[in-house]
C-alpha cells in the first residue's frame, strides 16, 4: 500500500514538473532572453550610429548626468505613481461595492468595467483628446453653460492629461485584481468581526484590508508598469510638457538611433519600477491563507 502511494506521488510530481516545462520555456524565450539582451546592449556603445561592442557603463553615466533625462524620469515616476494610486483608490471601493451590494447584476457590472479593454488602446487614449481638447466635451459643456468665455487650454497636452488618461486606462486592471481578492473574502469573517464588537471601520482596518490588500497591490503594480513604460499616451495627449521617460527611450531606438543608450535607460526604468514593486510586495504582505 505504502509503496503504491509513494509511486503515484512520484508520478504526480513528475507530471507536475512536465506541465511546468512550457512555462519555463516561454519564460526563457520571452522574458529572460530579451531582458538579458537589453542589459548587454546597454553596456555597449554607439558612435555616430555605429554599434561598438565594447563593455562600459558610459550610457548609464550619460543618462544620469543628463538633466532632461533626470527631470523626465522624475516626472514619469510621479505621474505613474499618482495615476496608479488614483486608479486603485477608484477601483478598490468600486469592486467592494460590486461584490457586497450587487448580487444579480454583479456580472454585468464587472463586464461594464472591463469592456473598455476590448477597445484598442490607441482609441481609448485618443478619446481623451475629445474630452479634454479645446473643442472637447468639457470645454463645450462649460462654454454652453456660460461658465467660461473661452476654452480652457491647460487640460490637453500636459502632464495632467497624461495622468488622467493613464488613470483611466489603469482602472480596469486595478478593478479586476481588487475584485477577485474581495470576492474571495468569506462573508463569515466579516460577520465574525462585527460579532466580536468591531465597528464597520474597525472591520475594514483589521480584517478586510489585510486580507485583500495584496489584490489591490497587484492591480497597483499592473497600473504602475503600464504607466511607467507608456509612450503612446504622452505622445497623443501629453504634448511637450507631458513627455514621459518612455518617449525618451523610444527616441533612442528611432530618431537618434542610439540603441545602447535606449537600452541603458530601459534598464534604469526597469530597476526603479522593480524597486517600487519589491517595496510594495513587502508592505502589503499578509501571513495566513484563506481556506
Amino acid at each position: 500500500m505504502a509503496k503504491s502511494v509513494s509511486l503515484s506521488s512520484k508520478r504526480i510530481s513528475f507530471s507536475k514538473r512536465l506541465s511546468l516545462a512550457p512555462l519555463l520555456f516561454w519564460s526563457i524565450l520571452l522574458v529572460l532572453t530579451p531582458n538579458a539582451l537589453m542589459v548587454v546592449y546597454s553596456l555597449w556603445k554607439s558612435e555616430d550610429g555605429v554599434l561598438k561592442r565594447v563593455m562600459s557603463i558610459d550610457n548609464y553615466i550619460e543618462a544620469f548626468t543628463n538633466p532632461v533625462a533626470i527631470s523626465v524620469l522624475t516626472r514619469t515616476i510621479i505621474v505613474a505613481l499618482g495615476a496608479s494610486t488614483l486608479a486603485t483608490l477608484i477601483a478598490y471601493p468600486t469592486a467592494w461595492f460590486v461584490v457586497r451590494r450587487l448580487s444579480k447584476r454583479r456580472l454585468l457590472a464587472v463586464l461594464l468595467v472591463i469592456v473598455p479593454l476590448w477597445i484598442s488602446f490607441l482609441i481609448r487614449v485618443y478619446s481623451w483628446k475629445l474630452v479634454l481638447g479645446e473643442r472637447g466635451f468639457i470645454n463645450s459643456t462649460l462654454l454652453s453653460l456660460g461658465l467660461i468665455d473661452k476654452p480652457l487650454t491647460f487640460m490637453l497636452y500636459s502632464s495632467f492629461a497624461v495622468f488622467l488618461t493613464l488613470t483611466y486606462v489603469a482602472i480596469p486592471f486595478c478593478f479586476v485584481s481588487s475584485y477577485s481578492a474581495l470576492e474571495r473574502l468569506p462573508n463569515s469573517l466579516l460577520e465574525a468581526s462585527a460579532d466580536s464588537g468591531a465597528t464597520p471601520f474597525q472591520t475594514f482596518r483589521t480584517v478586510i484590508w489585510p486580507l485583500t490588500r495584496q489584490g489591490a497591490a497587484i492591480g497597483f503594480s499592473l497600473a504602475l508598469l503600464l504607466s511607467c513604460g507608456d509612450y503612446l499616451t504622452p505622445a497623443m495627449v501629453g504634448g511637450l510638457n507631458g513627455t514621459m521617460f518612455g518617449s525618451l527611450v523610444i527616441t533612442q531606438f528611432g530618431l537618434t538611433n542610439n540603441w545602447p543608450l535606449g537600452a541603458a535607460m530601459s534598464v534604469i526604468l526597469l530597476l526603479i519600477t522593480a524597486m517600487f514593486l519589491a517595496v510594495l510586495a513587502r508592505i502589503t504582505r499578509t501571513e495566513g491563507t484563506l481556506d
Binding site: T206, P210, D291
Partner: protein
Amino acid sequence: MLDGTKGIYPAVVRFVDVSKRYKDSTSLAVDNVSFEVYPGEFFSILGPSGSGKTSCLRMIAGFEQPTSGQITLENTNLVGVPPHLRNVNTVFQNYALFPHMSIEENVSYPLRMARIKKTEIQQRTKEALLLVEMHEFARRLPHQLSGGQKQRVALARALVGKPKVLLLDEPLGALDLQLRQQMQIKLKDLQREVGITFIYVTHDQGEALSMSNRLAVMSSGRIEQIGTPKDVYFRPKTYFVAGFIGRANLEPGVVEISQGNVVGRWGDFVFPVAKETPLGPCVFSLRHESVNVNGGAGEISAVGVIRDIVFLGDSLEVFVFVNGLTLVAKTQMQIGSDLKIGQDVIVSFKSADVVRVDG
C-alpha cells in the same frame, strides 16, 4: 425597555411573534415564532435544514433583521441594533477564524475592539485559551490547526468578551463522529463552568438531547414543540416531532367514548387515555423501544406474527403484525436472538407510552 416585566419574566432572550421573510422569497423562513430562553440555560433549536433554526440564531446575532415581531435581550429591544453593539457572541459553523491573525490575536480580538487595557486583554486572553486548552498554540496561525482545535479557538474567541448569550451554529457539524462526541461533553462542562446562556442550533437530535436543558423543535419555520429533552422524546406533541426524534410507530387511530370512558382505539387495541384527550381521528405514536416482544412489562398485550427482522448490531428491529397494525419493536440482542420470521409472539406495551400527536 420593558422594565415593568423584568422581575416577572427573567428571560435572557425573548422572541415574540417573530417572522422572517427573505428578499425574493415567497415563503416565510421563520413563521410567527415565540419563545424564551432563561439565564444559564443550555437551549437548543433542533430541526432539519431549511427549518428556520439558523435564521432565528442570525436574528439574535443581528446578521438578519426580523420582518415582524420583537426580539429582546434582557428586556432591551434588539431589532435594528447592529451586530457589533449586541452583547452576544457567535461560534460559527465554519469557525470563521481570521486567517491572518495568530490564535492569540484571534481570541483577543473582541477585547481589542472594545479597547480594553492591554494588561487586562493579556490576562483574559490567556484565561480563555486555558479554558479551551489551546494556550500552547497561542502563536500559531489558524491554518496550522486541525478542525477540532479551530473549533476550540472559535469558542474561546466567542467567550472571551463574556457575552450575555453564546450562540452556536452547528459548531460540531464539520467534525468527525468521535471528536463530536468528545466535544459534546466538553461543551456541556464548559457551559456549566462559565455559566453563560447557550443557544445551540443543530440538526443532530443526539446533540440536542444530550446537551440541552430545554430544546425547541422547528419545522418549516414554525416551532413544533418546546420542552426538556425527556418531554420532547417521550411526549411528542406533533407528528413531525414524533417522527423526527428517535424512531416511533406512527399509525392512525381514533379517540372515542366507550362505556363512559375515554379510550384510544388503535387497530384492534383499545386502551384508556386521559379524560381531556380530544375525541376523533388522530395519530398515535409509540417508541420502538417501548414495544416488547415475548416478555417485558406492559398491561396491553396481544399475539402477533413476525413479518421481518432487521439486525442493527446491538439490537434488533422486529416488525410484528398484530391487531391490524404493523408495530416495530426494538429488542436487545439477547432477548431477540432466537426470533424467526413467521413466528407467533406476544407483543406488549404500556398504554402510558402511547402518545396522541397532532397530525
